[in-house]
């Protein structure tokens, strides 16, 4: 599944964060699957606390980019650094995979899943301490899942499932959160609740990168948007990147733009295969 070297540190020592370093710094990494180049020509810095939306069609390399930022794969050329160090030196990067990648029948409760975020802090061979349980309860409270803590995870709605993983990332004390299509399959109201929660996290200086198909939500709620199609097409505030030429370069002719008096309307016909709502 992965190219690049496997990373299995036994005696893991967490890197000290360089003061004043950017949360995420990407310098032209090349990632290949076999002979196919999945991602290259991306140079980008994301300051601490920023919310960045990564927008592109299916197969554009969004997940690959996330794997590189989280240190699951290493680029063959170029460099990714998190607070001035390689990603594998950090346990403060949370990668929330797409919900369909999870076995929702797995015999764990919401509380159990959030506690998983603590295990690196608890350490090998040890049980959770009172402090860890307090943190888990606080994280559940923050995302509004306290009442559902004892539920088996399959009993949650799609939005609640996503919030559970955010609580786990909080329990992990994650400073960089990567969310892969968190808005997929959620209804309108739930999408906005989730975005509101992400905005609260930014206020706590958590740096948030969200991969999404949804151009409208990205434009309305993110500081900057990165248009991705194997390489960086454009990166900047929504008003700068939502230009017909750039969107066509990203989505081909799947996205059309319509100039109106109120601004640019993006019609994003079939850039994604919509999932049925899971509410």
């Amino acid at each position: 599944m992965t190219s690049g070297s496997e990373i299995e540190p036994f005696l893991f020592r967490h890197a000290q964060h360089e003061p004043d370093s950017d949360a995420v710094c990407i310098k032209d990494p090349t990632i290949r699957y076999g002979n196919r180049v999945a991602v290259n020509s991306i140079t980008l810095t994301v300051p601490t606390g920023e919310r960045l939306a990564i927008v592109g069609p299916n197969g554009a390399g969004k997940t690959t980019l996330f794997k590189a930022i989280s240190g699951m794969i290493e680029p063959s050329e170029g460099k990714v650094s998190i607070f001035g160090f390689p990603p594998r030196r950090h346990a403060c990067i949370a990668y929330l995979v797409q919900r369909r990648a999870i076995d929702w029948n797995f015999p764990v409760t919401v509380y159990d899943v959030v506690m998983m975020g603590r295990i690196r802090k608890i350490g090998f061979f040890r049980k959770s301490r009172a402090k860890d349980r307090k943190i888990v309860e606080d994280c559940l409270e923050m995302v509004g899942l306290t009442a559902l803590a004892r539920r088996q995870i399959g009993e949650l709605s799609g939005g609640q499932q996503q919030r559970m993983f955010i609580a786990r990332a909080l329990a992990q004390e994650a400073e960089v959160m990567l969310l892969d299509e968190p808005l997929n399959g959620l209804d309108n109201r739930t999408q906005h609740e989730l975005i509101h929660l992400l905005e609260e996290l930014s206020d706590r200086n958590v740096t948030i990168l969200v991969a999404t198909h949804d151009l409208d939500l990205a434009a309305a709620h993110f500081d900057r948007i990165l248009l991705l199609n194997h390489k960086l097409i454009a990166c900047g505030p929504p008003s700068e990147v939502f230009r017909p030429a750039l969107l066509t370069a990203t989505f081909g002719h799947h996205a059309r733009t319509i100039e109106t008096q109120e601004g640019l309307i993006v019609v994003n016909n079939d850039a994604c295969v919509p999932e049925p709502p899971n509410e």
């Binding site: 990373i7 036994f10 076995d103 608890i122």
Partner: protein
């Protein structure tokens, strides 16, 4: 009342039946706990392959040491661990899927085992014992070995429980928390190999997979947390072992298949009559 007692107690006037009872309970528990990981990680084929792959180890042990059981254990364990690493090396070193690599090693090792056993004069008897177990011949030293290695396997699961849970539920989280993912994977395979080798005598290599998946799958229908699943699977496995031995004693069926049939019956009963609202789990 006293008649019931007679029926229950009669088999255990024989020391070999008592030893068999202890063996099936201990082995059942070890296999049930590891079986929870097998069903949740979708490793049933791997478990089946490891159990068949111990055959050449057992056969080589026979040829080198005669019937002595102590060395046989190590030969069997060595063959299982070698197969686990062989499967890992093939699936990483080629573009083959892991289950393809498992198929190749599984069949190759099993064939090697049968070929080695066929060199021996009492071929048919030995193959039957290896394939379907021979729990009535468990000796006191066999019991000690089962106790010691079963405890070691369960202790590892207990000590690394939360890491193994994360590895099983969300490998991406395991990687971003910088857990030693590959080490944990192979540790689990080695523990599985231990369980499979211990089960060799009770149910035999052909039926070990039933001890790994059936009680765990049955418990998964009834529980919603992993510790409860492990506990439930252990109880079911122990019960299946005991009932299987009774069946074997009174109906003169081979004990290994009898145990597996009882475990299968438990599964079917729970599947049909499980309480409303419980969910299915795992693979």
């Amino acid at each position: 009342m006293s008649e019931v007692w007679t029926i229950l107690a009669e088999p255990f006037q024989y020391a070999f039946m008592t030893r068999a009872l202890i063996a099936v309970v201990l082995v059942g528990i070890v296999c049930a706990v590891l079986g929870a990981f097998v069903i949740l990680r979708g490793m049933a084929f791997m478990g089946d392959a490891l159990s068949h792959a111990i055959l050449p180890g057992v056969a080589a042990g026979y040829l080198v040491h005669g019937g002595a059981r102590g060395p046989l254990f190590w030969w069997a364990l060595g063959a299982a661990i070698l197969s686990a690493f062989g499967i890992g090396a093939i699936s990483r070193g080629s573009r083959l899927r892991e289950d393809t690599a498992i198929g190749i090693i599984f069949a190759g090792m099993f064939a090697l085992g049968i070929a080695l056993v066929s060199l021996s004069k009492s071929y048919a008897v030995e193959v039957t014992h290896i394939l379907f177990g021979n729990v009535l011949s468990v000796s006191a030293s066999d019991l000690w070995r089962i106790g010691v290695f079963g405890t070691i396997a369960l202790a590892f699961v207990g000590l690394l429980y939360k890491e193994l849970l994360v590895l099983t539920f969300d490998p991406v989280l395991a990687k971003t928390l910088r857990l030693p993912v590959r080490f944990l994977h192979y540790l689990l395979l080695i523990l599985l190999a231990i369980a499979v080798v211990l089960a060799l005598q009770t149910v035999g290599v052909a039926l070990v997979i039933a001890l790994l998946v059936t009680p765990a799958a049955t418990a998964a229908l009834l529980t919603r947390r992993l510790p409860a699943l492990m506990l439930g699977a252990s109880i079911l496995a122990a019960l299946a072992g005991v009932l299987g031995l009774y069946l074997s004693y009174y109906l003169s069926i081979a004990p290994g298949p009898a145990i597996v049939l009882v475990a299968t019956a438990f599964f079917l009963i729970v599947l049909l009559f499980r309480p409303h609202g419980s969910h299915s789990s795992g693979a």
